[in-house]
């Protein structure tokens, strides 16, 4: 099945959690904020959130800015 | 919101000591600033600033030129009624004075309006005594239906009203409110206003603010300098100006500087405002508030009015009669039939005033505003 991660289609296995996806991409869950289908998820929900087909994910973090 | 707590706070302060303790360097500092605060105003009104009046005049003159150009707006008062229920001990119209009382009928209002309009004046100030029974809000409303045909700008100087009453007059074409506190010294005020609605210090004090809220474009305040300690009253007037300007930036706040002159009646001023003091007050106002409208009435002499032209004045009355019906009735005020509220000193006609202003390089302005409403 496929989810959209930061605008790109990504194939993932059934039953994958959000935390699992982040770890598989080498993203530290403590430095990001995630929008799942335009809803902001709290960090402690990452582990219990099972992804579904077509989910829209936005993963953001702080970068340099003025 | 109300200016009352601020006024009370300052009344409790030893203001005289503070005026006395101002130093030369305080004055110099205030003179060097572009934005002045309440302390600077106090400095400029203090005795320590008296030797600096020429420097203040130079700066005030330049600021006035910068913001207003070489123009003087002309207006004239129209007394509609002199019935009065107040006993203000200093006033010629007070209820205890046995003078002929009258109130213009609408036809007479029209006569007066025609006579004034014929002089070219477009800005009018209508006045009444304090009598809701005679010069009622309804009466004023009807007068406005006549007056707005002749004058694009009409201000009122009448008894204090509630906000919705002011709003109603705004709807009928009034765009300016003049209300003088007379004195900001609450204790003294009580001794000068013995009876009548005007006795209510706070209701009077909040009237300009109610006018601002009601949609008046110009709100003109002032103290009758000399009633009390003129220095304190002028200073509190300045604080009142700043208070209103801060809260109602959409309203033009203006001041008048009427001063009491020694006169024949029983009541004499508490303090005498000499020419030099008067000039210092006016200059302090100009430096404190560069955009402030400053009105000088015909209580002042022709010579003095001409001398202070470059110092900060923006508005002057002309062709004045302070008597009811004084503009259209062939009446020599000497014969006692018609009694004015106060004696005027500058008796020049509008034409003479204009001629004199032009001679000094000033443009007399008859009209700088057209009140556009949905009036039918």
């Amino acid at each position: 099945m496929t989810v959209v991660l930061n605008g790109k289609n990504v194939d993932i296995s059934e039953g994958m959690t959000l935390l699992g996806l982040l770890e598989s991409r080498g993203i530290s869950s403590e430095t990001v904020v995630v929008e799942l289908n335009r809803e902001i998820l709290s960090a402690d929900a990452f582990v219990s959130t099972i992804l579904g087909d077509g989910d829209l994910l936005e993963v953001l973090r702080f970068v340099g800015g003025g | 919101m109300s200016f009352y707590p601020i006024c009370t706070e300052y009344n409790a302060l030893p203001l005289n000591e503070r005026f006395e303790s101002v130093t030369e360097s305080d004055v110099r500092r205030a003179l060097g600033k572009t934005v002045l605060d309440a302390e600077d105003l106090l400095s400029l009104m203090s005795p320590a600033a008296a030797p600096f009046v020429e420097e203040m005049a130079q700066k005030a003159s330049q600021l006035t030129l910068q913001y207003f150009g070489r123009t003087i707006q002309l207006f004239t008062p129209l007394y509609l009624s002199n019935f009065c229920t107040n006993h203000c001990v200093y006033c010629g119209f007070n209820a205890k004075n046995k003078i002929p009382r009258s109130q213009l009928e609408l036809a007479q209002v029209e006569e007066e309006a025609k006579a004034i309009a014929a002089t070219g004046l477009k800005h009018l100030l209508i006045l009444t005594g304090e009598s809701r029974a005679k010069a009622s809000p309804d009466y004023l409303d009807s007068c406005m239906t006549v007056l707005r045909k002749y004058f694009p700008s009409v201000s009122i100087e009448i008894y204090s009203m509630d906000q919705d009453e002011y709003a109603r007059l705004v709807d009928s074409g009034v765009d300016g409110l003049t209300v003088f506190q007379e004195t900001y010294d609450e204790e003294l005020y009580a001794t000068l206003h013995l009876f009548g609605p005007k006795k209510n210090f706070r209701y009077r004090l909040d009237a300009p603010e109610r006018g601002c809220k009601a949609g008046m474009r110009v709100v003109n305040i002032g103290a009758l300098l000399g009633l009390g300690d003129w220095r304190k009253d002028a200073y509190l007037t300045g604080l009142h100006v700043a208070y209103l300007q801060n809260l109602y930036p959409e309203v033009d706040i203006a001041v008048s500087l009427p001063r009491m002159r020694p006169h024949a009646g029983e009541f004499q001023p508490t303090s005498i405002v000499e020419d030099r003091d008067m000039v210092q007050i006016m200059l302090a106002f100009r430096l404190f508030s560069p955009r402030l409208g400053i009105t000088i009435s015909t209580r002042e002499s022709v010579q003095f009015r001409e001398d202070i032209l470059p110092l900060g004045v923006t508005k002057m009355s002309a062709g004045v009669s302070t008597a009811v019906g004084g503009h259209s009735q062939e009446d020599d005020s000497q014969d006692g039939d018609t009694v004015g509220q106060f004696d005027i000193s500058d008796e020049r006609t509008v034409d003479e005033m204009c001629e004199a202003l032009r001679k000094q390089g000033y443009q007399p302005v008859f009209k700088d505003w057209e009140f556009i409403t949905d009036l039918q």
Partner: protein, 258 residues
């Protein structure tokens, strides 16, 4: 001077210089910049994680004592700014937000109308809102009504380092607005930050001028000192100064005639 505390959003700050994290050639210098400037508030932006190149994390270089001020850069409307603000708060670094709404990419000037809309909504949600605006009195007043914690007028268009071009307008905001005025954007030199502080600004936000200096750490220290000098000058009160020429003809001669 230790008693001159700048209170904003429930924080008590000793430094009145806000810094930023944008445009550094190497982010690792940021911690030294923070220390040299003595600043206690620093801005960050929020962006999508780049999945391809694993770049360093700017957060690793921001000292822990710094108060984070996330901005909504990239937002072109109030709605986008609100979305970014909520995401930023979800990062768990507090509820301060610098609202920045720009839809003109030629001049990068902020949209005051959208900014005021976003400010009102976010202030109601409990954010400490610091909106970045053109130095405009009416917009500033609408921000006061909207519940902003400060007003941040620009000194010059963002990133231009052109100095305090809006001097007279900023002066009006300082006089008229009862919220802290923080001059943001455009300040190129410490002398300009100093001037803003002398005028009575409550703080300055400086990013580009430090980040793009030949020696950012040295420049950060210079800005820290300039802001402090300007503040002290403001507190000291300017001395008497004669702005007008001496009279050629007296205006009050008539007073001495009697």
């Amino acid at each position: 001077m230790s008693e001159d505390i700048f209170e904003i959003g429930g924080f008590k700050l000793e430094s009145r210089l806000f810094t930023g994290t944008g445009k550094y050639a190497d982010d690792s210098i940021i911690s030294d910049v923070c220390e040299a400037s003595a600043s206690q508030v620093i801005t960050v932006a929020l962006r999508r994680v780049d999945l391809e190149s694993g770049t360093g994390n700017v957060m690793d270089y921001i000292p822990k004592y710094m108060k984070l001020l996330p901005n909504t850069s990239g937002a072109r409307s109030a709605d986008e700014a609100i979305r970014i603000a909520r995401l930023a708060r979800a990062m768990g670094c507090g509820d301060w937000i610098k609202i920045e709404v720009i839809s003109d990419n030629k001049y990068l000037l902020p949209d005051g109308y959208e900014t005021a809309k976003a400010t009102e909504i976010l202030a109601n949600e409990g954010f400490v809102v610091l909106p970045y605006i053109n130095a405009d009195l009416y917009v500033a007043r609408s921000l006061v009504d909207a519940g902003a914690a400060a007003v941040m007028p620009l000194g010059a268009p963002i990133g231009t380092n052109r100095g305090l071009k809006t001097r007279e307008m900023v002066r009006i905001l300082i006089e008229e607005i009862d919220l802290p005025i923080i001059v943001d954007a455009g300040i190129g030199n410490p002398s300009e930050a100093c001037e803003a502080m002398e005028m009575g600004a409550d703080a300055c936000l400086v990013n580009t001028a430090i980040a793009t200096a030949g020696n950012p750490v040295l420049m950060a220290r210079a800005f820290g000192r300039a802001v402090r000098a300007g503040r002290e000058a403001y507190l000291a009160g300017a001395g008497a100064m004669c702005r007008h020429a001496k009279a050629s003809s007296p205006l009050t001669g008539f007073l001495s005639e009697d």
